[in-house]
């Protein structure tokens, strides 16, 4: 029995993370986790900047709240939720695998969690645009 995870070696260059040509599910999972992780770190620090409006004062915060209700920002919120859901669920799988749980079923596990993620994203999108 041969056990292989990708057709090629694990990428070291950042641009190789998104080059999924000829790669298997493992590379998709790896690339998704890396890209969503980077996106969420960028968002975290953007969030700090946004929250500084609270310190500036009521008028600054209210102005930001108004901006946050624009369709473009709401669309970014959907992207943010997609990142959170994918990274969270994939990270859950990686952590369990790290403890030796579900290693043999990890491909099924990955697809199952991404299906759950798609459902959660659909609910989140509905809430973002209707609240």
């Amino acid at each position: 029995m041969s056990l292989h995870s990708t057709n090629r070696a694990r990428p070291r260059k950042p641009w190789q993370w998104i080059d999924i040509r000829g790669r298997r599910t493992g590379m998709w999972a790896f690339a998704l986790n890396r890209l969503t992780g980077i996106g969420l770190v960028v968002y975290l620090y953007l969030h700090f900047v946004m929250l500084s409006q609270l310190f500036i004062g009521r008028a600054a915060w209210d102005g930001f709240v108004e901006l946050a209700h624009s369709p473009l920002v709401l669309a970014f919120d959907v992207v943010l939720f997609a990142g959170l859901i994918i990274h969270g669920l994939n990270g859950f799988r990686v952590a369990l695998n790290g403890f030796g749980i579900g290693v043999r079923q990890q491909k099924t596990f990955f697809y199952g969690l991404m299906a759950v993620g798609a459902l959660l994203l659909a609910i989140s999108t509905y809430l973002i645009f209707t609240l």
Partner: protein, 128 residues
Amino acid sequence: MQTTATVNTPAQPRSAIGTLGWIWQVVTGAALIPLAGLHMIAQHFMVEGGLRGFDQVQSYLSNPIVWPIELLFLISVVSHALLGVRAILIDLGPSPRLARLIDPILWVVGIVSVAYGAWLTYAIVSAA
């Protein structure tokens, strides 16, 4: 010949960031599921319009149960994020000289980030 395709773990944790860092990333990752969930529900989904107004934020953060939870959330999210950044930077194969700088820089960034978030919370609450 039977072939078993597997899904790679996104990071080869123990070799890339060390056992302690990997455990801490798992612990904070697990903590972030309820903490981020609570943050999202309380700050966005339970509020009309999806965002609290200025007075609502002050009132929410003034709750003695809320601010320790938000502080725990802040520490968890910052350390989880910076451990992820560390894993990526090390995976890029920096020179030994550059690699030695990664940890101290990320520690400073992490401490400043948590201090800024805690100070911001305090400033908002004390302005009430």
